[in-house]
Symmetry: C3
Subunit: 272 residues, 3 copies
């Protein structure tokens, strides 16, 4: 995992983000914090050129519209053609027909390396029209120690079917391919009080996989650990009276200062 972080710092991967306008600034600063570089572009006429100069593409459907959906398709096709890393963050799949259908359509037309979402989004994608609703995960669906075996089997199976690394994030994070699953126990529940930690992780993960194309699973898991450890460090660094706005900054700051020693000391994961 340490090696994956170091490769990001060394290679400074340029990541093209087609993402939502809610959390885009934080995504850009997280990418800079980890050692990558961000570019944002969603205009259909612009995206192919922009993706061509990047190493990775992060598609996030958080505030999708007809124009940006077209941009996603063009950029995804170009990134596939060039062999770039491509990640999908299906924000709100299950919350609206457009989001669900767009995510499924993108999965059918673009070869993704990684899909990162919460449990409700991923269940929606796995089982067609979802039974869950909302852009946050349905708590009834959460990964717990009790249902862990079943959930690990689910993400491995979904990874197998999609031929993607699947990163299902929540209180316990699962990052799997068809064979192996990282079970990661980092982070803080208060991270859910910051808007866009999932979007930020998707950007970060795209940089990690782009910088480590030969070990996508490990790189995706490393990104989850970096984010979770940063969430813990940032929380410890909060001063009296500071709340979710300051926490956001302190978490990004912790990514900026993340080093091998901190990651080795604080990342908690096991393989299943």
């Amino acid at each position: 995992m340490i090696h994956c972080l170091e490769k990001v710092r060394e290679t400074n991967p340029l990541v093209h983000n087609i993402t939502n306008y809610v959390t885009v600034n934080d995504v850009a600063n997280v990418l800079l914090a980890c050692g990558g570089s961000p570019i944002m572009s969603d205009e259909p006429e612009d995206v192919a050129d922009i993706t061509a100069i990047c190493g990775g593409l992060c598609i996030n459907i958080g505030t999708l519209n007809q124009r940006s959906i077209e941009g996603m398709k063009i950029a995804g096709a170009k990134a596939n053609e060039l062999g770039h890393t491509v990640l999908l963050d299906p924000v709100g799949a299950g919350a609206s027909a457009l989001r669900t259908n767009t995510a499924i359509d993108l999965m059918e037309t673009i070869k993704f390396d990684v899909i990162r979402g919460n449990v409700s989004e991923l269940k929606t994608l796995a089982f067609g029209a979802g039974t869950t609703k909302g852009v946050d995960a349905d708590t009834a669906d959460a990964v717990t120690e009790e249902n862990l075996d079943r959930m690990v089997a689910f993400v491995k199976d979904f990874a197998h079917k999609t031929d993607c690394v699947i990163a299902m994030t929540g209180a316990i994070d699962l990052v799997a391919d068809a064979e192996k699953c990282y079970v990661i126990r980092n982070g803080r529940p208060e991270m859910g009080k910051i808007t866009g930690t999932g979007c930020q992780l998707s950007g970060l993960m795209t940089a990690f996989v782009t910088a480590n194309p030969d070990q996508k699973l490990k790189a995706a898991a490393a990104a989850v650990c970096v984010m979770g450890v940063a969430g813990e460090i940032g929380y410890r660094n909060l001063k009296d009276g500071e709340g979710n706005a300051s926490y956001r900054n302190r978490m990004i700051d912790a990514i900026y200062h993340m080093d091998a020693a901190a990651l080795k000391r604080e990342a908690h994961y096991e393989m299943r």
Copy 2:
């Protein structure tokens, strides 16, 4: 007022925001800070589904465009059909024909529970094509101790004509229905040096009214008090050398930590 805050914390209202891309991240973090949850969506094909899973809808015309205006109309109609709370923030009404006309058109086609704006925006809406200009209030129009009786009468009258709660915010805030008006004296002038405190308040207010559907007037006034008190606490928490960027964070942090004791101790209002 304390009860209104507690209801937000207890019920975690989900608020659909069709809002501007300038201040959207802060609106999301304010909603999380107060105990609500934000969703953003402005694509006409997406908004009806998204609004359907929410409890409230906040329409802010700060960076309106033809696509998002269509989204506002569809979402507003759906929210009305479902009996959801709907708030209008007519950002820049009076500053351009499109903004003025869009706000008036929305008021004619959507039943709003609350309209929140500055004095210039609300005068524009009350008197048709406005004589004021700009997205900040014309200082000549400001509510003062001297013209308070007249301004209270204006907001009550406008509340009567529109059958909405009217929240007119400035140095002195007025929140009224046709019968009663809260006159609120909280906040700091330095809040005007942070972009989007009005937008943030509109998001917060939507959460408060959504969580307290049986006392909309009081809930809207409570949101104004929470924002004003947070502005005062955040200001006191500023450290040497900190300016408007840190102030923004400290104000949101103060909303995050706002409790019944602070609100009771520091909210300053009277009824007229």
Copy 3:
């Protein structure tokens, strides 16, 4: 330079920004920090009215799309008609055909007072289709003490050809008209780890030139000095564990508190 800052504080210039959604919130807060006021609008039907009530227009193509490009053209024409200050930030010129062609097209149809970009963007505009790629400057192109004479000549020549003030920012900043060039040595390399410092500077510069229409060159150079000095002060104000997210805030805070004494003491520039 001090006079230029004081004029911004005194006259509170209203700046219309057609800018990208990545860094727009920071641009707004920087404008407020320096003493200006921001308005954002990119809808073709809205921009002429909005620009009409402003003093300056800042066009930034960072996340351009077909709709906003049309908005840029309409707003630019209106601003020219009214004799307003107009600045171009050609973000990513050279990184895509659409960005390069749009920047060139805007330069042909709008009279700009200032063009502010990095060396790669400005070389692309000066020499047609660019040989550099990316939205950050190609390090091979950077202004150094060794190539300084040549680069000064380049910006003066480009200023002459375009009849604009040219601000080429990087480790060493050059701000020139056809006759004179400010060579400015302020700022910190860590500013490159904050997303959008260039965009923020473009907004700030528009306010400075708008407030000082009779000395555009000096006003543009003063804006560069203010930004660079704020970057140094903000860096010194960083506490243990703080990284790029906190640095962003501390830099804006430093602009907020910037005064004549600090600017006089810390601005480092010479004329060539």
